[in-house]
């Protein structure tokens, strides 16, 4: 019988870790998530059902530690040449069960990309923050506090606004940064965050890359307030809310790298964000495939399984085809992350633009495909029982985050067509 493992992966790209780790997560998904996920929507505020699954995955299985150096209790993935493909697989497996959990899980790594990845490991900060994640079996969350009320994804629109719209300020006062500002919407906020990476400006309104600052702020620092989670169309496992920074003081060394470099490596964060998004899409879609296959094999029309109706099969083919391509492209991009020697630095405009291209393609296909899958299921398509509508709601969120499609298009056109004023 065909399973999701029959979808193509570029086998030469896989680290030896890929399958063992993948199977651990799949087992976790089957036992800790899938039996409960139909009740997750009502659990969006309390996380009574969701929390134990996080604890198992991140704390007990230790997945929250993987990026940190081995000698600090991590798994050393940040210094390996398979951080991309390995995390691609992990994200895919988690998202198959619940892409809200996948993003919450993925974003733990997100600020850490700034300090744990070769060639720009910040050893001092790794030492500082490793204990939060590596010396506990409780789940720990990190978040990138980027978006602000006034401009939405403007923060990510680096090419045009060059950081000039950032309103969160960081002022050096002796050996400490004093941070003030209001952020909203980051994954892993809404009360659960333990460590923030905060996008700030050291000179409001400036377009000078040197004034862009990425500063770590432990969530229990005085002056940090997290609001309650927002209610969303889906992804109950991912909490999002407001964060206020009021005269928050952190050591000077908490700035990731300093003038110029913060912005440079922040683009690598975008690269990882796009890679992760593709993996979430791919994972969700593989579960859509599984559930849809059940449906069209069980339900009959004119005395045969629904899948034997040629016109229905045409739609099934389109969906399988897209999953194939999403996976191939996703792994290719992950491999490009793993091999900067071949494909250039992960923070290059090229890598960012290409990641945006793949990400918005995957999202567009997925949203359309799941819509069609639901349609094949007739009225049942709207039912939570079949799980497909859940992925539909979740996938829409992946499509919209990180600046959405139009920002992706702008960056892709800018790079490939050398546009200058977009």
């Amino acid at each position: 019988m065909r399973t999701i493992d029959d979808f193509t992966r570029p086998l030469e790209y896989l680290s030896p870790l890929d399958d063992p780790l993948g199977m651990v997560v799949r087992e976790w998904a089957e036992t800790c998530v899938i039996p409960y996920r139909r009740r997750f929507d009502e659990d969006w505020k309390e996380h009574e059902l969701i929390e134990p699954a996080f604890k198992r995955l991140m704390g007990e299985l230790g997945m929250q530690r993987v990026l940190f150096p081995e000698d600090l209790g991590g798994w050393g993935l940040g210094r390996s040449n398979y951080a991309g493909t390995s995390s691609y697989r992990l994200f895919e497996e988690v998202a198959r069960a619940d892409s809200g959990m996948a993003v919450a899980f993925g974003v733990i790594y997100w600020p850490m990309v700034m300090i744990c990845m070769e060639p720009h490991v910040n050893r001092e900060l790794c030492e500082e923050f490793a204990p939060i994640f590596c010396s506990t079996t409780e789940p720990r969350f990190a978040a990138n506090a980027m978006t602000e009320p006034q401009g939405g994804a403007d923060i990510e629109n680096m090419e045009i606004v060059k950081g000039s719209t950032i309103q969160t300020t960081a002022v050096l006062d002796g050996d400490e940064w004093v941070i003030n500002g209001h952020k909203l919407w980051p994954t892993n906020s809404g009360g659960v965050c333990n460590l923030f990476g905060v996008v700030c400006t050291t000179n409001p309104g400036s377009e000078d890359p040197n004034d862009f600052a990425f500063i770590f702020v432990p969530a229990d620092t005085p002056g940090v307030t997290q609001g309650p989670p927002y209610e969303k169309a889906g992804m109950a496992a991912d909490k999002n809310g407001d964060i206020w920074f009021e005269n928050v003081r952190v050591p000077k060394s908490y700035r990731a790298h300093g003038p110029g470099l913060d912005l440079l490596y922040f683009k690598e964060v975008i690269t990882f964000g796009n890679m992760g998004s593709i993996a979430f899409v791919g994972g969700s879609m593989m579960n859509v495939y599984e559930r849809l296959k059940d449906f069209v094999s069980e339900e009959t029309y004119r005395g045969k399984p629904l899948k034997e109706h040629d016109a229905v099969a045409g739609v099934l083919a389109d969906i399988a085809r897209d999953i194939e391509i999403i996976r191939i492209v996703g792994y290719q991009y992950a491999r490009m992350i793993d091999r900067p020697d071949l494909y250039g630095p992960r923070w290059s405009d090229e890598m960012v633009a290409k990641g945006r291209a793949y990400k918005y393609w995957a999202c567009d296909r997925a949203v359309e495909d799941v819509g069609k899958a639901m349609n094949l299921m007739s009225t049942y398509g709207a039912d939570r029982d079949w799980d497909v509508e859940k992925h539909w709601r979740d996938l829409k969120i992946v499509q919209l985050w990180m600046g959405g499609k139009q920002l992706c298009q702008a960056e892709v056109a800018r790079w490939f067509f050398e546009c200058e004023t977009l």
């Binding site: 401009g151 016109a311 819509g371 939570r384 985050w401 139009q406």
Partner: protein, 402 residues
């Protein structure tokens, strides 16, 4: 002029009454639903049920198409197709789920209460529910989920029919219908199909657990089983494929008009966003950016064309003397083409509108995501588009085995 009068349609067809009714229902939507939504969200008891009572009973929508002789307002002519289009645009703008319930009721009424073809026995039996009680008349349609395979069977015998079906999935109101209208495969009849009316409290009905669905919060739905339910002769209200298709054509019109209403609401939300949002940090208003404007244009275009097509369908159903009866194959296929087109266009348009609004697109607070879920759930009431295409191809290519 309100915003959505912007959207073109052939308004020469709308009567003064239609226009004035639309104005009233616009106010209903704003006062009874939209104004309270931020606080009450999708709460059934506090928001949706009271709004529905007001609409069905106080404003009297459930009596609109009902013959005067059975206690209704007597707008039971084919021209009612135009009236319900004008009405459902406004109702759905407020709440799509409520619009579905009304569409279901009106589809049934088109089958039993149309001037010149009033089914006296059925109308008498229904008069209490429609015009007598102080409860909304909720009709649960049990239609084929997969094109031409009814979910239920009815056997003809002495004195009437016996309906049998396990675990059907009604379009809506499985859990609280006043009345089930069940499209059955007929046994012991010359006709293949018929719609049988069954009171909500009939013996032999069993309801399953409430379904959790992606949208349409006003609809309390459950699977329903019919265990040898006895139905009197006259309660087979649409006998034969053509009669059943006539009811479906009216239902499709209702769903189409409801979808247009959801598009109006989505447009308004997007317009508010486009007017106020600043991007690129340089005082650029969102709507003035050509890339986002191009997407916003798609939303407006889809809304406009969906509206035009819906009114065309309404006109066709309103003039059977010119265009033939609603259950005629060509008209049924036209209704199917229009409603699927409108529904898909709306899915696409609201998807695009959400893209414009980024996280506000999926935050419940902004309500756009609710229309997105509702419109999709409404679309699924039509069954798979791939199977509907078989009807289209049968008609246009004279294919005989599809």
């Amino acid at each position: 002029m309100s915003d959505h009068d912007l959207f073109p349609y052939l308004y020469e067809w709308a009567s003064d009454m239609d226009v004035s009714l639309a104005g009233n229902l616009r106010r209903w939507a704003e006062n009874e639903v939209m104004a309270k939504r931020l606080e009450l969200k999708e709460d059934y008891e506090q928001l949706l049920e009271p709004a529905m009572r007001k609409l069905f009973l106080e404003i009297g929508m459930q009596r609109l198409l009902w013959p005067e002789e059975h206690g209704g307002d007597g707008h039971n002519t084919p021209a009612a197709s135009l009236t319900i289009t004008a009405a459902l645009e406004q109702v759905a703008r407020g709440d799509v789920g409520i619009a579905l319930l009304l569409s279901s009721l009106w589809a049934l009424q088109s089958a039993v209460a149309m001037e010149g073809a009033v089914n006296g026995e059925a109308c008498a039996a229904l008069a209490e529910a429609v015009a007598g009680r102080d409860e909304p008349a909720l009709v649960s349609l049990v239609l084929p989920l997969f094109r031409d395979e009814p979910q239920a069977a009815a056997k003809h015998g002495k004195g009437g029919w016996t309906v049998e079906a396990a675990s059907t999935r009604p379009l809506a109101c499985g859990g609280n219908a006043s009345l089930y209208a069940v499209l059955c495969a007929l046994q012991g009849s010359e006709e293949e199909w018929g719609v049988l009316l069954i009171p909500g409290d009939a013996k032999g009905i069993e309801r399953g657990d409430a379904l959790k669905r992606t949208g349409l919060a006003a609809d309390i739905n459950t699977p329903v089983s019919f265990g040898k339910v006895k139905v009197p002769e006259g309660m087979c209200v649409a006998e034969g494929r053509e009669a059943c298709r006539a009811m479906l054509s009216w239902l499709y019109l209702g769903i189409s008009a409801s979808t247009v209403g959801a598009l109006f609401a989505s447009y308004e939300i997007l317009k508010e966003w486009g007017d106020s949002r600043v991007i690129k940090g340089r005082g650029h208003i969102f709507k003035e950016n050509p890339l986002t404007a191009a997407v916003m244009a798609e939303v407006a275009k889809e809304t406009s064309l969906a509206r035009m097509l819906t009114w065309d369908l309404a006109r066709i159903l309103s003039e059977p003397a010119v265009y033939g009866p609603p259950g005629q194959e060509g008209n049924h296929v036209t209704a199917a083409m229009v409603v699927h087109q409108v529904s898909q266009a709306a899915e696409n348009a609201i998807n695009r509108a959400m893209e414009m609004m980024a996280s506000a697109g999926y935050a419940r607070e902004w309500n756009l995501e609710r229309y997105w879920r509702d419109v999709k759930a409404l679309q699924l009431c039509l069954g798979p588009y791939e199977l509907a295409k078989m009807d289209v191809s049968r008609y246009f290519y004279r294919a005989s085995t599809l």
